[in-house]
Each structure stands twice: as C-alpha cells, then as structure tokens.
C-alpha cells in the first residue's frame, strides 16, 4: 500500500507544486490524471525518492520514503516523463547495465533476460544499435523495458505513452495490465484514454491539489444524461461559451462540433444528448476546479458537488 499524507512541495520562486496531497493507493493500476503543470510529475518524483518534499509523508508498505528513499528503490520500477540513456551504449548494453544496478536476474541469465525484455517491448531488432540512433518511440520502449524489469512492488510510469504509436501503446497497456495484477502501478498521465483503458481507480490533480478520487465508471455516471452535442459557427460558439458549460469544441468541416454539459437536461436548440465519456467527466471536473480556483474557493462548487456525490472527493 502506498500512502501519501499532507504532501507539500514548494519550489523556489516560490511555486507551490503540491498543496497538501493525501492519497492511498492499493495494489493494482492507479491513474493520476491532470493537466500539464498540475503537479503529477512532482508527486511521482517524490514517491520515486528523487525529489525531497517540503513537508508531508510518503510510505510504501509502512516504509518512510521521504526519510529513507533508499528503502523504496529496490522495490521500484520507474519510467520518468523525460529521460535519456548513455548514447554510446547499445540498447542491449544499456539495459544490461540497469539490470545490474537493480540486481535483476532470471533463471535464463541476465543476457537472455535482456533479450527477452527487449523482445517484450519490440526492440529486439535494435538491441545492438547504439542508443543515440534510437527514435523517440524506441527510447520510450527501452525506458519501459527497464521500468518493468525485476519484480518491483511499485511501478511508477510518468506519461508512458508519449511518443508511442497506437500499436505500441496497446502493447504497453497489456504489459502494464499484467503487471498490475499483483503490485501497485502508478500511472501519471494527461491522456484520459490511458486511464479509461487501464485504471479501475484514478485521482485527478490540479494546481497541486487532489480534486477527485474515483473510478472511470463512477466518473462517467456522474454526468450521465447531461452531455449534449451540436454544431455551431464561430459567433454562436462565443455566445454559447458565455451561457453554457462547453466541454469540447472541435472544428469539423469548417464548423464547430461542440459538446456541452447541461446538468438540467435542457440543451439549446440543435443539440442532441450523446453518450458521456470519461473525457467529458474529466473536463467537467477541470472546469469546475478552475472556476473554484478563480473564485478563491477550495474547488468544490455546485457542479463539482454533483460529481462528488457519486465519487469519493477530497477537498
């Protein structure tokens, strides 16, 4: 069990990246969803023992990660958001080196294990190439290979699907899904689809605060029947934004295909009810949180309460 209590991180500036986050994550896949700059990577780095928090506690199976980061490292698989490798090494050598550092081995031997892992992430063909010749996606897959290596209790993956093509993304989903059966996998992303596909539970973080802790089903249920879609021109869209809660506006054949959240169930003319998605729920949540922040409130306005009624919301 990963437990986070009242975690605060202030960067010089000062910039408050985390404002007292509380979170418990049990075995299985757990998503951390939030916009860019919300504090997800900061939270991941602190949990990975790479960043010292200003205050607060993080424990993994009762081991204090803040005071004793060394204790969590043998049980950690970590894929950071932004990383690289020694360019002069081949993919195979690089992975072998990391396995040695982690003390990871297998019955078939480390070298064979390296080959197997590279095969799992579809890099066997480039095993002998120097890393400096890898594409972004190949580098990401090598990162994934090292993160899943061993038998880590906790796998932290920060924006793991960035740079992966759909095929590779799905391959990675399967790997993660398998791994999450008997360990904690913490997936940080701003891609709602990742969470929707993989995570039975997820938290939403914004401006360093946890604004929701729920499941995709609950999140979707919270806005059931309240999402409508219609097509408007630019002038109408401007008007609509003033009067309604527009969640999405996508240009389609020169006009705007707009989705709005209308909890009262009375859409404007020309709008039809559509099937709600997790992305709608997330965007509704974000808009609510943004409004709350701009109003100086804690983030729980009326619309947010609607979601909190079905989810497990923390202020």
């Amino acid at each position: 069990m990963l437990s986070i209590r009242n975690l605060v991180k202030v960067y010089p500036g000062p910039v408050t990246a985390l404002q007292g986050v509380d979170l418990d994550v049990a075995t299985g896949m757990f998503g951390l969803l939030g916009p860019n700059g919300a504090g997800k990577s900061t939270l991941m780095k602190i949990v990975a023992g790479l960043l010292e928090p200003t205050s607060g506690e993080v424990t993994l199976d009762a081991v204090d990660v803040v005071r004793n980061p060394e204790a969590v490292r043998p049980h950690l698989g970590y894929l950071p958001q932004d990383f690289g490798f020694y360019p002069h090494l081949t993919g195979e050598s690089m992975l072998l080196f990391l396995l040695k550092l982690k003390g990871v081995d297998a019955a078939q031997g480390q070298k064979r294990l390296v080959a197997d892992l590279l095969e799992r992430v579809n890099l066997a063909f480039a095993a002998k190439r120097k890393v400096k010749g890898y594409s972004g996606g190949m580098r990401q897959r090598l990162g994934i290979a090292q993160a899943i290596a061993g038998n880590p209790k906790l796998i932290i993956v920060d924006e793991p699907t960035a740079g992966l093509d759909p095929e590779e993304r799905h391959r990675f989903y399967r790997l993660l899904g398998e791994l999450a059966q008997d360990r904690t996998v913490l997936l940080s992303t701003h891609i709602v689809e990742d969470v929707s596909t993989l995570c039975p539970r997820f938290a939403v973080i914004r401006d360093g605060k946890l604004v929701a802790l729920t499941s995709p089903t609950e999140a979707r249920a919270s806005i059931a029947g309240a999402i409508f879609e219609g097509t408007v021109d630019a002038v109408e869209l401007t008007q609509l934004k003033r009067t309604r809660r527009v969640t999405q506006a996508i240009l389609y054949e020169g006009r705007n295909r707009v989705r709005i959240h209308e909890p009262n169930g009375t859409p404007p003319p020309g709008f039809e009810p559509v099937k709600e998605t997790l992305e709608d729920a997330y965007l509704v949540l974000m808009q609510g949180a943004a409004r709350a922040v701009s109003n100086g409130a804690s983030g729980n306005d009326g619309k947010f309460n609607r979601l909190s009624a079905v989810g497990e919301v923390r202020p």
Partner: protein, 1203 residues
C-alpha cells in the same frame, strides 16, 4: 546574412556569457592577479637588487607585455575554451537546435553570432583587466611597491594588449569553437587549453639550450601563440638595462607581427570551417564513407506481432553488494572512457611533458643528469601530479555530469544502486586514466633507461614514489572534486572551484609556502636518493599521506551525504543550516574526520618542532637578536688544534661528541670573553676550560666564556666540550632535503655551521631572513690593505684530530691522513689527523666501494659507477697538473666521497671532497662536453683555490675560489681532454653568463661580494673566463709562474687575498705590463663584454697561378663593450671528428682532416666596426668569430655568417 538575426544571436549569447558566474570568477582571478602584480610579484629581471637600487617598473611596456602575454594564456585559455568550445555543445544539450534552425536563422548567423559573443565577452574581460591593472598599479597607493611603479602611459597597456592579448584571444576562441563544434565533446574542448599550456609552459617558453640553431629558435618564437618566447628571446634574455626596459617601446619585427596576424587568422579560419561544417551537418550530413558503411549493413526492422507475458520471464531482484555494484558502475564507466578520444590525446601529452621534465633535470653548474629509476620517478612527480589532477578534474566532473546530460539521471538514481557505489565506481574508472598515464610513464621510463644504456630499470622506486606517494594525491583530488560537484551541483561551478584550488596551490608552490601540513600534492617536497629512500622526512611523509587518505575517506563520506541523487528542497536546506542541524551532521561525520584531524595535528606539531620549523626559526632569530650588537665584530682567539672524539649512530641520527679546541689569542688585545656558538640540537652540553668544569653565560645558543684570567696576546687555553644530539632533529618544514645530516644512507657534516662541533665566535649568517636581511657591507677601495680575514673557516689554519666511532658497515672519512682503523663489536673506529693545517674540516660516511688512483681515492655507492672512470681521470689529472701548475699538493691523498642527494652540492674540504649523487656520479657526460670531468676538476681545484689559500673576506674574494676553480678546469680540460672539450666548456659557461647576468647591477669583479642578483655568474663564469683570457694575454708560462708566486705568498699567510692582491701578485710576471694594466682595468675594475656582429659576408673566387683562391669579406662590429683583439675565421666543414662515448673516454677529439680555416684578427672598441678580408685556399662555407673561444662575448652563437 541578416544583421538583425546575427545581432539577435550575438546579444543573447553575450548577455548569457556576461551573466555567467564563470565570467565573474575570471574577473575575480584577474583582479586578484592585478593586485598581486601591483606589489611587484612579476617583474623583468633587470635592475639593481640592492636596497634603493634602480628597479624595473611593472608599468613599463615591456613589463606589461610580459605580464599580459602570460596572464591571457594561462588564465583566460580555460575560460575561453569553456565559453567558446561549449557554446554549440550547450545548445545541443538543451536541444534547442531544431527550433532555432527551423527559423530563418542561417548557420552563418548562428555560428558567427555565437563566436563574436564569446569574443566580445572576453574582450570586455580584457578591458576590465586593463582597468583593474591601471587602478592597482597607479591609483591605489602601495608604499612597498612604489619603487616598481613608473608614470601612467596608456600606450604601455594598449600596445601589448593589441599585439599580444588580442591575437591570442581570437586564436583561442576560434580554435576552441572549432574543436567544440567538430567534436561535440567537452573533454576535447578542455584538452586544447591544457595542451597549449603544457606545450608553452614547459617547452616553448623555456627550452632554449645554448646549442639551439638560431633558425629553430626563430621558428619557436613564431609558433608561440602567446608571443612570450619572442619577447623573452628578442628583448629580455640579454639584459639591456633597467632604463631601457622602463622607457623604451617594444620594437616589433615584421615576422613577429605576421605571426600574430596568423594566429588571429587561424582562429577565424577555425570558425569559418565550423560554419561550413555546421551548415552541412545541420541536415544530417553523413560522410560518403560512413554512408557506404551504413548501406552495407542490413537494416533491422521491428516486428509487429511481438507478444508475450512479463511474468513468463520469471524475473527476480535481489540485493547487490556494494563491491559488485561498484565494479558494475566502474566497468560501464570504463567502456565510456575507452571510447573518448580525450584519453588518447591527454596521455601522450602528459607523457611528453613528464618525460621532458624528468629527462632534462640538471645538477650543479646546470649539468644534465643521468636519470635513475628514483630520480626519474621523483622528477616526474610534480608534472604528473599537476597534469593528472587536471585530467581527473575533467573526467570526474564530466562523469558525474553524464547522467544529467544524457537524461538518464532519473532512471539511474531511482535504481537501488548505492550512492557510494556510484561515486566510488566512477572514481575507480577515472583512476584508470591516472593508472594509464602512470603505466605509460613507467614504460617510457623503462625505454629511457634502455636507450640511456647506463642505468638499469627497477620497479621499487616507482612503486614507492608513485604507488605510495602519488596515488593518495590522486585519490584525494578525485574525492575533493567529487565533493565540489556534489556541493555545487553543476559542472561549471565545480570546474571554477577546482581551478581556484589549483591556482592557489600553484601560487603557494611558486612562493615556496607549501609546508607539509598544506602540501596535499607533495609538490616540490620530494628529494630522492638512490642511497636511501625518503629517510630524512619519512615521518612527515607518512603523516601527510595518511592525512590525505583520511581526507579522501572524509570527503567521500561527505559527498555521499551531499550528492544530489534526490533534489534538495530549499526549505529543508535552510533548515540544515541551523546550528543544531550542523552540530548533528558534524557529529555523524566525526568518525570520518577523526583520523585526518589527528594525523594532521601530529604532523603540524612535528613540522613546528622540526629542525627548520617555526621553533627553530625563533631560536635562530633570538640568537641573532640577542647577540649581533655585542658579538658581531668581537675579537676572537684562533684555534690551533681541534680534537674531537665523535660517536655516531646513523639509524637514529644520534651523535655524541667530546673534544677540545686549543685556543690562542693572536689578537693585539686581551680577550676577557670568548663566544662560542652551538647548535640548537646540542643536548647535555658540558664545558671545561683547561680541564676544569665551567658554565658559560647562556645567550641563546651563544655560550660566552670568561676565562679565569683574561687571555693576553699570545696566551692560550684548552676549551673542552661534550654533548650529544640528534641531527637533523625531527622533520623538515617543507621537504626538499637538507645540506647536512646523519642518516642510515650516509653522514655529511661540515664545520661551516654548528652542526657537529661548536664554532668560535658569533655566526652572522644565522637567524637572517627577509625581515632582518640587510644590504651588503660597503667596503672601502683599500679594504684589502693589511691583514684581511678569510672568507670562510677559521682565521688561521689549524690542525685536527678526529676520532670517529660508528657502525662497521660504513666507511668514515675526514680531513687529513688516516692514522688508525679498528673494528670491534660491530663498530669501526677511525682516527684522522690533518698532517697539514686546515681552515675547516668535515666528516662524511657511507657504505661505499673505493677506487684508488695515484694519491687519489673515489668513495662511491656501488650503484653509481657510471662516471667513475671519467671522474678518476679528472681526479688524478687535477692532483697531478694543479700540483705542477700552481703548488704541490701537501697531503698524501685526495679523496672524493659520495653522499645522498638530499641537497645538491659539492664541498672541497681539505683532502676530503664531498659530492652529492647529482654531482659527477650521476652527471650525464657526453663525448663533446665532459661534464663529469668538469665538475670533478672544479671541486678538486678548490684544494688549491680555497684550501691552500683561503681567499679574503670581502669583495673580490670568492672569485679567487670559484672563478679560479673554473679557470683551472678550463686548463685541465684542454690538457687532458683536448681542445674541443675546452672550447665546449668555455662556450657553456659563457652562455651561462650571458643568460644570467644583470646588466644594471653587475659590478666590476673587484666589487663582487655575492650579495646581488647576478653575482654568482660573475664569480664563477665571468671570472673563470677573465683568468683564462689573462693567460692568453700573459702567455701560459708567465701566467703559471704568477700563480705559483701567488701560492707561495699566501699559503699559511694570515692575510687572505682578494682580487686586487692577486692582480698585484701576477703583474710582475706580465710580459707587457701596460697591456696587463689595460686588461685588468677593463675586465676587473670595469664592466665590459664584447658582442660581435658579422654582416655583409661575401666570398669571391679567383684563380691565381692556376690555383683557385677565395676571398671573404665581412664587416665585424662590436655591439657590446670592451676592446679585445679577436680572431675572425673563414672555415670549411666541422672542426672536430665526431666521437663515440668509448672513443671520447680514450682520447681527445681529433681535428677533422676535411676541416679548413683561415684567420685574421681585429680589435674593435664599443660600436666600432671594420670590414675584414680573409683569403683562403679552399672554399669556405661560413665565417665565425673567435674560433678558439679565447675572448668572452655575448651571443656567440649569433656571431656567425654563412657564405
């Protein structure tokens, strides 16, 4: 090219450079340097060193040119390399390239904008440097430095800046830029300044042997990027006088100016090349060769149907031990290191420099030395320490920075690998670089010994010196740099701090301020002896090294705590500075700090209490303060007999002395008090007068005795003494050996100082340092009239009886004749008696073998037999010929004994000459220049010039010891080894005089008293030449008759002669007294040196009576001073046949049968010139001055004209 885009890049980069801490760190260094220079720390070596003498200004154009050329090169080069070489690399690291170059920005605008931004930043630095220098030199008062400061003239600063600094900066900036752009490797960027500094600092600026062809010299001047060699060789090397340097403008010649332009052009071409290359690589240019290789390789493609579960891999993790982790990290680091070209550039560079230094070591009289494994290992130490430390700085910082640079840090630091294992593994891998360098040097040493052909290779000295002494330095430095990086968190600050520590250490080393307690690299501290390794300061060495290793461990522990594997939180950092937190941290680190702290405290106590430590200095100063006023010129009794019973235990440096002096009052006054100086290491001292116990007045190591009845003229007494002691007591302050010592490897003790016997009277040299050093005594012109006291030793010669008891394995030598020798219970007891009066005596002992000649004996360590034949030839020749030429040698045997080279010197005690290893025994003699012969002949000559006749105290005295010894050597070389050896020796000492003389402060020979800069070369070299020229003037027979008369007159004479006495004694033997007087006037009472220039040399051929005849015309000009008849010769071919060492050992060099010459003579005064005609029956190829080397002159090697 768009001006606006160029300026956008330019401004952005310029602002960046000006805001960098590195830039301001450079400014701080420059400010500190300017401040130190303003105190006269770096001046042209001209002027008068006496108090109040005319000084060279630090504000002159010459002085500033010298300063700016060195400062720009040494201080700017590293910063320029970082600024310029890293500019493209930095953008690549930041991955801004793709965005930049997707804009309309063109490669040219980018490259030139960046280059000019760096250049502008460093021009600004030069501007600030100039302003600071002018401020410190002219505006900020400094009474101590006022004498070095001239009036402010802006051109004194601007001209040197333009000619020296600007081209150097453009060159450095351009080449660094090109290296950085081409390689994209920081290590290679750092190689450039290091390589240039090593090349210039250790070779181009200094290497100028007398035999160097002027054309090569000119070439070296032109390829010096700093321009310093040109300045030194053209203007500074031959002292032109302080007035010239203070007021004249530097005259630049066109070749030099062209070379400066060329250096600037090289820099610009480097950037232009970078521009072209950058433009081509921007779109992924691949060379045709690489493209062909790529096309040959089959392309591997990804498969889309890969699947498989992770759990099927059955992975498991288990904790990895520290050692295993360390090895893994080190192995992967090494793989990286192996692929870096820096290693392959640095190692040969270091090898070259180190070997160059080790193999060009010189001994007495600048004679080159044979390298032995020990001298080679120690000779390389400083260079290796400096260079490997610099190398380790780069490799350590870059390896620590690598994870951040490559982006691997987050993954790497999240693994369970221990921080200690990461740091230690990296250090281990980087140490491999040091190991490679050391192994390379070791191999080079082995090859050197093989080529040298005389000395065998042995691993022991390398293992001790490099293994036990150097390795801790490298470990300490690596741990220190790692700590700096851990604290600073970025490479530039770590570099800047490391550079600051290195610069400070270099400064302290140059200022001779590194004692054992702060000398972390043992710089200039080691003194090797093949006779026994590091015996003198072994305790200090062990404590110093243990402290270094302890600090290494402490720094490592501290680094593990501070290393930013996890980014610090700023609030927690502030919290960590609370006293309580600091206290806790200190407590936690205390176990690591205890060992170095304790060993350092013990070391500091040892240094302070050592024989030249603070306590000893206080003792000496108190001796001086307490007694100088009362006892400096007090009349003293004469010693007539010194009787000493001396017991020695070399293993513990202990001695016991019991003996007596027979003192007789030869003064005209009654002596109520007798002052006796003792050493501060004398313990349990007891005194008797005529057998009765007495207690003298204790005046801080001056014991003042009151005889029962005052000693009337002619009265005498027997002063008995007994004491024991350890000598030297404790360790030295800074290493570098000691002149006298009792050690297991040998014993050397002389009666010049109170080391083993008391000295009669107050010793005015003790307790003098910079605080109380006074200017030399001014003697009246007739000071030598009447009785002149001796320059050294006793007032009157006396007899000695020395009984020595010591371990059987040693041979114990002293002055005089061995009267008895017996061995009992492992102890050898010898009795030496001077059968002829002496002025001073000594004891020397060692585990030697002996080679005996005709009335001569050479005692030497069996390892050092290399030059024994040559030295014996010299020893036998000296005894025979000096006896015949000057005065019969009165003792039955003349001995030379070798002692450990804890100090390099030779002393000619009567019958018992002492040579340190580096003198004669390890001299690198060659067939042409018989150096081992020369040093032996010189020291043997002191048996006559110094012992039989001790010169008088005062100006012109010591010349009759050293100058005459050189003159004797000249004669003996020609007598025994032939004309070529003599000519080479004369040329060598002449060049030494030319290089070392101080034109402003050089006094006439009759005024030379050894107290001014430049007096040494006059005393030895010029005086030797003048006595040699005097022989040419008088003729050999007349001259030797005069010398003989001199000895007849002064042997045993209480009046000790000075130069005027010698001149007066010789004059009656001069065949032409007028010519003699004229010669003496210009060479002894005036300061003159001719300098001959040959111009407009031409040859023409004519056929006379069917025979070809050549006529050579050449204009000879005396650009120096003095008027001497001198020969001009038209010659063909080399004069002497080349000899192998074996041939040279057997016979003198023969004149080559192909050699032809035709001579004429000219006599030219200062500024006079004359066109001379020489007719030859052969076709000459050149004209030379003074073919037989009989007229002393400056710049002889340039007095040559090719036909």
């Amino acid at each position: 090219m768009s001006a606006s885009r160029f300026f956008a890049v330019f401004w952005l980069d310029l602002k960046f450079h000006l805001r960098r801490p590195l830039f301001w760190f450079l400014i701080a260094i420059l400010a500190f340097t300017a401040y130190k220079m303003s105190s006269g720390e770096m001046r042209i070596q001209s002027g008068d060193s006496e108090v109040g003498g005319k000084k060279a200004w630090i504000t002159s154009e010459f002085a500033f040119a010298q300063m700016i050329s060195v400062v720009v090169f040494l201080f700017y080069s590293f910063f320029v390399a970082v600024g310029s070489g890293m500019t493209v690399i930095r953008d690549e690291d930041l991955r801004v390239g793709e965005i930049f170059h997707s804009t309309p920005l063109r490669p040219g605008e980018y490259v030139w904008g960046k280059f000019f931004a760096v250049l502008a930043a460093f021009f600004i630095a030069v501007g600030i440097d100039l302003a600071l220098t002018a401020l410190f030199y002219h505006a900020i008062p400094n009474a101590d430095a006022a004498k070095f400061r001239g009036p402010f003239e802006i051109m004194n600063y601007l001209r040197p800046t333009l000619v020296f600094a600007v081209p150097t900066l453009i060159f450095l900036t351009g080449t660094s830029f090109a290296v950085g752009e081409r390689s994209r490797k920081p290590i290679l960027v750092f190689v450039l300044p290091v390589a240039l500094i090593l090349l210039c600092g250790f070779f181009i600026w200094n290497w100028s042997p007398t035999w160097l062809d002027p054309r090569w010299n000119q070439l070296l001047m032109l390829i010096d990027p700093a321009g310093l060699r040109w300045l030194t060789e053209t203007w500074l090397k031959v002292d032109k006088g302080v007035d010239f340097y203070n007021h004249a403008r530097i005259g630049f010649d066109s070749a030099f100016l062209l070379s400066r332009v060329a250096f600037a052009a090289i820099g610009l071409v480097g950037v232009a090349w970078s521009h072209k290359r950058f433009a081509s690589t921007l779109r992924g240019y691949v060379s045709p060769r690489a493209a062909r290789r790529l096309l040959r390789e089959p392309e591997a493609r990804s498969t889309l149907d890969v699947d498989g579960s992770v759990s099927a891999l059955h992975m498991h993790s288990s904790p990895v031990g520290f050692v295993r982790q360390t090895i893994d990290v080190a192995r992967f680091e090494l793989r990286g290191l192996r692929t870096q070209p820096g290693l392959y550039l640095f190692v040969p560079l270091i090898l070259l420099e180190t070997l160059g230094i080790a193999l060009t070591q010189t001994g007495a009289f600048d004679t080159p030395l044979l390298a032995t494994p020990g001298t080679f290992a120690v000779g390389c130490m400083d260079a290796l320490t400096w260079m490997v430390c610099m190398l380790l700085t780069f490799y350590t910082v870059e390896s620590l920075e690598r994870e951040r640079n490559t982006g691997l840090a987050a993954i790497y630091y999240a693994t369970p690998v221990r921080t200690g294992a990461v740091l230690f593994g990296k250090a281990l891998a980087n140490s491999f670089v040091g190991v490679v360098v050391m192994v390379a040097c070791l191999l080079a040493g082995a090859i050197t010994f093989l080529v040298q052909g005389k000395v065998g290779f042995a691993l022991g000295p390398f293992a001790i010196t490099w293994g036990l002494l150097l390795v801790p330095t490298l470990l300490l430095w690596t741990s220190f740099v790692t700590l700096l990086y851990a604290i600073a968190g970025n490479r530039y600050t770590a570099y800047a701090l490391s550079a600051a520590v290195l610069v400070l250490t270099f400064y302290l080393q140059r200022r001779n301020k590194l004692d054992w307690t702060i000398n972390w690299g043992l710089l200039s501290a080691l003194q090797w002896s093949d006779l026994g390794a590091y015996q003198l300061d072994r305790v200090a060495l062990v404590l110093n090294r243990v402290t270094a290793l302890g600090l290494t461990v402490f720094f490592t522990a501290l680094t593990v705590r501070l290393f930013r594997r996890r980014d610090w939180d700023s609030a927690r950092v502030v919290d960590a500075f609370r006293p309580a937190s600091i206290g806790k941290s200190a407590l936690r680190l205390a176990p690591w700090f205890v060992v170095p702290l304790v060993t350092w405290i013990v070391l500091a106590a040892q240094v302070r209490a050592g024989f030249d430590g603070k306590a000893a200095k206080i003792d000496q100063k108190e001796y001086w303060r307490k007694n100088i006023a009362t006892w400096l010129d007090a009349p003293l009794p004469s010693t007539t007999l010194a009787d000493l019973d001396f017991t020695v235990e070399p293993e513990r440096r202990w001695f016991h002395a019991k003996g007596s002096f027979d003192l007789v009052n030869h003064q005209q006054v009654t002596l109520a008090k007798i002052p006796i100086t003792i050493g501060n290491h004398f313990e349990n001292v007891k005194w008797t007068i005529d057998g009765k116990d007495v207690t003298p007045e204790d005046r801080r190591f001056l014991c003042v005795f009151t005889p029962p009845t005052p000693l009337k003229p002619g009265d005498g007494l027997k002063l008995g003494f007994e004491y024991d002691g350890v000598y030297p007591k404790g360790v030295s302050e800074k290493g570098r050996g000691n002149m006298e010592f009792i050690l297991p490897s040998g014993v050397v003790l002389g009666s010049f100082g109170p080391t083993f016997v008391p000295l009669v009277g107050f010793q005015e040299g003790i307790g003098i340092d910079d605080d109380n050093r006074s200017t030399s005594k001014v003697y009246p012109d007739d000071f030598f009239e009447g009785q002149t006291p001796p320059a050294f030793g006793n007032v009157e010669p006396y007899k000695t009886r020395v009984r020595i008891t010591g371990p059987e394995a040693y041979t114990w030598n002293s002055v005089g004749v061995l009267k008895s020798e017996e061995v009992k219970d492992g102890k050898r007891t010898v009795v030496w008696e001077s059968d002829y009066p002496v002025n001073f005596f000594n004891i020397v002992a060692g585990k030697w073998v002996v080679r005996r000649g005709t009335g001569t004996a050479l005692f030497y360590d069996p390892q050092h037999a290399y030059n024994v034949d040559e030295m014996m030839e010299s020893l036998d020749g000296s005894r025979r010929w000096y006896s015949e030429w000057f005065y019969p040698f009165p003792w039955p045997e003349l001995k030379v004994s070798e002692f450990p080279a804890l100090s390099t010197y030779a002393q000619g005690f009567p019958t018992n000459i002492t040579f340190s290893e580096g003198i004669g025994f390890l001299t690198k003699s060659d067939p042409k220049v018989k150096l081992a012969f020369f040093v032996t002949a010189h020291e043997c000559a002191h048996q006559w010039w110094g012992n039989l006749v001790c010169p008088g105290k005062g100006p012109g005295g010591n010349l009759l010891s050293e100058g005459t010894a050189h003159f004797s050597t000249i004669m003996l070389l020609e007598q025994v080894k032939g004309l070529q050896a003599r000519i080479e020796f004369c040329k060598g000492i002449e060049a030494g005089y030319g290089d070392s003389r101080q034109v402003d402060s050089e006094k006439p020979m009759v005024k030379i008293d050894g107290t001014r800069d430049g007096d040494t070369t006059v005393t030895y070299d010029k005086a030797g030449w003048v006595f040699w020229m005097l022989q040419q003037l008088m003729g050999r027979e007349a001259n030797l008759k005069g010398c003989h008369a001199y000895f007849e007159k002064y042997v045993g004479n209480p009046d000790h002669p000075v130069l005027q006495d010698f001149i007066a004694t010789m004059r009656p033997f001069a065949p032409d007294p007028e010519a003699y007087d004229a010669f003496v006037k210009q060479w002894c009472f005036d300061v003159v040196v001719p300098e001959y220039w040959l111009n407009d040399a031409k040859k023409s051929k004519a056929t006379v009576d069917g025979k070809d005849e050549w006529t050579v015309t050449v204009t000879v000009e005396n650009g120096g001073t003095g008027r001497m008849p001198v020969e001009v010769a038209a010659i063909k071919g080399d004069r002497f046949v080349e000899q192998t060492p074996d041939e040279a050992a057997k016979a003198a060099a023969m004149v080559s049968p192909d050699y032809r010459e035709s001579r004429t003579q000219v006599t030219l005064g200062p500024g006079e010139k004359q066109t001379v005609t020489i007719r030859c029956a052969f076709e000459p190829d050149k004209v030379i001055m003074d073919p037989d080397a009989v007229v002393l002159q400056l710049k002889r090697k340039y007095a040559l004209a090719k036909l």
